[in-house]
């Protein structure tokens, strides 16, 4: 069912939510708009194309406590569970799409990641459709669009001076009927659907330039191509692309102990770092930038779709396009590989 909510009511709702759970929202600080914990709606930026960091920070945080241990003489281990409730507001369609891709890795297979599952359960996702896609946005390349609701519990679409709202899950309906009671008004279904359609069909110029169709198959035979040599030379081996990416999920486990007790953490790691695959013996299967750069793009465009069926491990959020210091980003690689292929 479609509803509308006035901006003031939305702010009231967010303020209300901030009282009993962690409110995460786009907020501008020193010129950077990123998703961060805020105390009230007053801190929220409502006018932004996309946030510098993604929802990943809160479903799969950069550092996460896994367990506490005591090692004085004996050993005891206590699992730490991320029990806090959180609500994330203002998620763009690319981030909402990324959640499904992360779910496949972290919740799929023989082992399910309990920490991630708990955070998923405890987090209410409120999406906000894109009014003005940035120059670097290319979500439409992957079949998403500026109105894509993905994993959202509630999806909002700015419609003139109000927001069109749709509750998509039980969690979302609980929000509308619970804390949101009296703040939402029923919307005209037909007019609402028209708004949704307009967002879904919104032009994403960069998306038109990048055609991903069939790249997984092309890459099957592209592993040994000279291209990886050429392109990887300019990589500086920083972790920017992987850390701002909403779908990169590689991590490491690390301990910190002081005086017989300590914590084990799970922290993001980056396949672009030289030490990433270096073994204790000193052997490193991916010793140079070439192997590392190739790994990152093969993973996103070939290994992942082959392993998890279909979708690519990229949602076209454009963060790596905007932030890679040397302009080595996935949209460029897709274009290049197809270009190289076309000439070959």
């Amino acid at each position: 069912m479609l509803m509308t909510i006035a901006p003031d009511n939305l702010k009231n709702l967010l303020d209300k939510l901030a009282r009993d759970r962690l409110l995460v929202a786009p907020s501008m600080e020193d010129g950077v708009t990123r998703l961060k914990p805020v105390h009230s709606a007053a801190e929220i930026a409502f006018d932004y194309s996309n946030t510098a960091t993604s929802i990943k920070d809160f479903l799969f945080p950069q550092s996460e406590d896994l367990l506490r241990f005591v090692t004085d003489g004996t050993l005891s281990i206590e699992e730490i569970k991320p029990e806090r409730a959180q609500v994330a507001f203002g998620l763009r369609p690319c981030d909402l799409a990324s959640v499904a891709l992360m779910d496949k890795v972290l919740l799929g297979g023989e082992f399910s990641d309990a920490h991630y599952q708990t955070r998923r359960n405890n987090t209410l996702l409120i999406g906000l459709a894109c009014e003005n896609p940035a120059d670097t946005c290319f979500c439409t390349t992957y079949g998403y669009n500026p109105g894509w609701a993905g994993a959202a519990d509630v999806m909002l679409y700015k419609d003139g001076d109000k927001y069109l709202a749709e509750a998509l899950t039980d969690k979302g309906r609980e929000l509308v009927g619970g804390p949101g009671e009296g703040l939402f008004k029923p919307a005209d279904e037909a007019a609402g659907e028209a708004v949704k359609k307009a967002y879904a069909e919104k032009d994403v110029p960069f998306g038109k330039e990048v055609d991903v169709q069939g790249i997984d198959k092309i890459l099957d035979g592209f592993f040994y191509d000279q291209y990886w040599d050429d392109i990887s030379k300019k990589c500086i081996g920083c972790g920017t692309c992987t850390y701002v990416c909403p779908t990169c999920h590689c991590f490491l486990l690390t301990d910190e102990a002081r005086g017989g007790q300590g914590l084990r953490f799970r922290c993001w790691d980056s396949c672009m770092f030289a030490n990433y695959t270096k073994m204790a013996s000193g052997a490193n299967p991916r010793p140079t930038k070439k192997e590392r750069v190739r790994q990152r793009f093969m993973h996103k465009l070939n290994y992942y779709p082959n392993r998890y069926g279909g979708s690519y491990l990229c949602t076209g959020c454009g963060r790596c396009v905007a932030m890679c210091p040397v302009g080595l980003h996935i949209a460029g690689v897709i274009k290049d590989v197809k270009g190289v292929k076309a000439h070959a």
């Binding site: 901030a18 962690l22 409110l23 914990p37 105390h39 920070d57 809160f58 910190e256 002081r258």
Partner: protein
């Protein structure tokens, strides 16, 4: 702290200026913890002399003996603050007296810069003390430790660079 702030801190996120240092009073029974980096040839001997001469000074300092003040990487100072020191004393031979001739001259340049830099990052300047204390200056060592302890007692616990585990 509100639920929000606790949670925000748990997320490793900034909690805004409201939680910055100083605001929280020192806990009951708190005693300043001071790490003293002392060069082996002068200051350590000076500290020893203070002891054998039975000069009283506060027990708040934990001395770490190093070969030379030139060995004391400012990283050590930041690490000490990170791991719970409320104050740090860096001490070595007087200029001209270095056992290795010139180590303390390099240390002097380094700490002229480092004291200012650490202050610039928001650590109260009183928390880092650099002093030349010779092997015969047992009294100076004791006085330095006493003054430093009192200054830090007045400031309260150092939370600026302290890690939370």
């Amino acid at each position: 702290m509100s639920v929000n702030e606790k949670a925000a801190q748990a997320a490793g996120a900034a909690t805004g200026p409201s939680t910055v240092a100083a605001a929280t009073p020192a806990p009951e029974g708190w005693e300043p913890k001071i790490i003293g980096f002392a060069c082996n040839w002068c200051t350590y001997a000076g500290a020893d002399l203070a002891g054998t001469s039975r000069i009283q000074y506060p027990p708040n300092i934990r001395v770490i003996r190093v070969p030379c003040s030139g060995r004391i990487n400012p990283q050590f100072v930041v690490r000490a603050f990170q791991r719970g020191a409320d104050g740090v004393l860096v001490a070595g031979c007087h200029p001209g007296d270095c056992h290795y001739s010139t180590g303390n001259y390099f240390a002097r340049r380094r700490y002229l810069l480092a004291t200012r830099f650490i202050e610039y990052l928001g650590v109260e300047p009183e928390r880092l003390e650099v002093r030349w204390i010779s092997g015969s200056e047992g009294q100076k060592f004791a006085d330095t430790v006493r003054e430093l302890t009192e200054k830090i007692r007045a400031l309260g616990p150092q939370r600026r660079l302290r890690e939370t585990l």
